[in-house]
């Protein structure tokens, strides 16, 4: 069976001009993502994460290699209808909530996507209500977006994508500008979409605690995939992540330090629950 997203030997360079040479960004990327999977992509600024995301729905076209989504090979030769199909399948939510809202009323903003796709008015109504419910913003349907907090605006941006009914949503640092509460709200929404609605989630983040929620963590450095595995596997070697300009959750860092001291503790402790239990047993004895 073919995977939902299949990336094979993908390389990408931003085109140069007469004065500047072209800029290579991604080299020989191979990655498979299952339907319904939750994948976190980590990597330092400029490592190529966002470029990779843009190659998934034809905002950018590979320089070499292939990307296929739902068994369909993406290419610049696709007709406009085919490209729209791909973009309907993979939605994106970006960092700054203020740059993603277009209407003056919350429910109109959410309706913007389906309206442009020519969806029937009754169906739009149904989708808007459902999207508002999923992100927990039903009571704000008639509000003006600029009166909302950052986390609320970002949830409206997510609702706008849900209304297009994508199979996969890419979150490109969607929590970076939010306060702790807004961050939690958005993370909870992302988890609901993935676990309950079966939407494939790809999140690009610098926040290691968020990456812990994923099924799979992919680390990119200088345009190549350097690590791939479960959060436990990837975070079990903190020093390797530091070398890549990244870090590990504080819980993981503490357990790594205690292990170095000779304490008998497992590798890759990533959750607070597990950490608290282990620490309790260690300190009680």
């Amino acid at each position: 069976m073919s995977k939902f997203i299949e990336i094979k030997n993908l390389s990408f360079s931003y085109p140069g001009d007469s004065q500047n040479p072209c800029v290579p960004v991604l080299h020989d990327i191979n990655l498979e993502i299952d339907k319904g999977e939750f994948v976190a992509i980590l990597g330092r600024n400029g490592s190529g994460k966002s470029t990779l995301a843009k190659l998934l729905n034809l905002i950018l076209v590979p320089s070499s290699g292939t990307v296929s989504v739902g068994g369909k090979l993406l290419s610049s030769d696709m007709s406009e209808e085919e490209i729209i199909e791909v973009r309907k399948c993979i939605g994106m939510v970006f960092q700054n909530p203020d740059n993603q809202l277009v209407a003056t009323v919350v429910e109109e903003d959410i309706a913007f996507g389906p309206e442009n796709l020519g969806v029937e008015p009754e169906e739009i109504r149904r989708r808007v209500d459902q999207a508002l419910e999923i992100v927990g913003m039903t009571e704000f349907a008639k509000h003006s977006p600029h009166q909302l907090s950052g986390g609320q605006k970002q949830r409206i941006a997510i609702a706008g994508i849900i209304a297009i009914m994508p199979e996969c949503i890419v979150f490109d640092e969607s929590t970076a500008m939010l306060d702790p509460h807004g961050r939690k709200e958005v993370m909870r929404t992302i988890e609901t979409l993935n676990r309950e609605k079966g939407i494939t989630v790809i999140t690009i983040t610098h926040n290691m605690e968020e990456a812990v929620c994923a099924d799979k963590v992919v680390v990119i450095d200088h345009g190549t995939i350097v690590k791939q595995g479960s959060p436990k596997e990837v975070f079990s070697r903190p020093e390797e992540l530091w070398g890549l300009g990244l870090s590990v959750p504080q819980v993981t860092e503490l357990f790594d330090m205690l292990r170095c001291l000779g304490a008998e503790l497992p590798e890759g402790v990533i959750s607070e629950e597990e950490g608290a239990q282990l620490l309790f047993e260690l300190l009680r004895s």
């Binding site: 990597g43 330092r44 600024n45 400029g46 960092q95 907090s149 950052g150 986390g151 640092e173 970076a176 500008m177 939010l178 306060d179 702790p180 509460h181 807004g182 961050r183 610098h206 290691m208 605690e209 530091w242 300009g245 990244l246 870090s247 959750p249 504080q250 819980v251 860092e253 503490l254 330090m257 205690l258 001291l261 000779g262 304490a263 607070e272 629950e273 950490g275 608290a276 239990q277 620490l279 309790f280 260690l282 300190l283 009680r284």
Partner: protein, 289 residues
């Protein structure tokens, strides 16, 4: 001594219109000279209004701002002098880069202060050093640099004015972990070398606990609390109720505490947690109960 003191400061946007909005209300805060203070608060809590009041960009609707003990908005005070002394780095300051080279961008502030050429050059090089900007980069266009490098150039541009108070609004937002610690390292280095007073606005409780001595908590335009990290993070439930949090390491130890192992004191950084656990592992000591 208080470096900056706010006495009963309020600020109202669009005053006397239907859109009137009280952004900060009756703030009394004294920032001690040489201290490093974190400001935390939910979106819309008044943090950004507050920092603009601190460097005189906004004049309070009521109340007084004292800088080195003198009223910042008194008739005889030149506000431009205050702004050279209280440097403010906005959120995403890299959007404000405009010069042809990194060097001249950093030199823009000191040039406007009317300094001579040799002094400007010295300031540029010192500031570049604080921010980890290599000599080779100085001659480049700021627009050729990566986002993280641009951020450092923008911060260096403010440090080059050697402000007595350095205020930074989310200086590490959007940066990778390495970039974050480089930026904070540079800020601490600037403070160590110049003795400046530093104020940092951040949504990262981990960074606040790690780098700041004092924390000012804003909620709905008012001061919720102000004091040492210990004093503030002790109120974890209340912080959560106003949209904030405590560092993950503190949440972990609190859980362990609830299970029945108590620690001596409040712990908010990984280093402190580690040091407090060592005695347990090395056999005996500590205060397990």
């Amino acid at each position: 001594m208080a470096k900056i003191e706010l006495c009963g400061v309020s600020y109202v946007y669009s005053s006397k219109t239907p859109f009137e909005k009280k952004a900060v209300n009756n703030i009394d805060v004294a920032i001690e000279e040489g201290s490093i203070t974190g400001i935390i608060g939910h979106t819309g809590s008044g943090k950004s209004t507050l920092v603009q009041i601190l460097n005189g960009l906004l004049e309070p609707t009521s109340g007084k701002v004292l800088f080195n003990g003198a009223d910042m908005h008194a008739k005889k005070t030149k506000l431009s002098d205050i702004r050279f002394k209280v440097g403010l780095v906005f959120q995403y300051p890299e959007y404000q880069l405009f010069e042809e080279t990194v060097e001249s961008d950093i030199a823009y502030g000191p040039k406007n202060m009317g300094l001579d050429k040799a002094e400007i050059e010295k300031r540029v090089h010192d500031a570049a050093k604080f921010c980890g900007i290599e000599e080779a980069i100085l001659k480049k266009s700021p627009f050729e640099l990566s986002g993280g490098q641009q951020r450092r150039v923008a911060i260096a541009g403010v440090m080059a004015m050697t402000p007595e108070v350095l205020i930074l609004d989310e200086p590490a937002a959007g940066l990778d972990p390495q970039g974050r610690s480089d930026i904070f390292g540079g800020i601490c280095e600037y403070r160590r070398k110049t003795g400046a007073t530093v104020i940092i606005v951040s949504h990262s409780m981990e960074d606040i606990a790690r780098y700041c001595e004092n924390v000012l908590v804003m909620s709905k335009g008012e001061v919720f609390d102000y004091g040492s990290c210990d004093k503030i993070f002790e109120r974890s439930d209340e912080l959560e109720a106003i949209g904030l949090d405590i560092p993950q390491i503190a949440r972990l130890l609190r859980r362990v505490g609830e299970m029945g192992v108590s620690f001596d004191k409040n712990i908010y950084t990984v280093g402190e947690a580690y040091r407090s656990i060592i005695p347990f592992i090395k056999g005996g000591g500590g205060s397990a109960s």
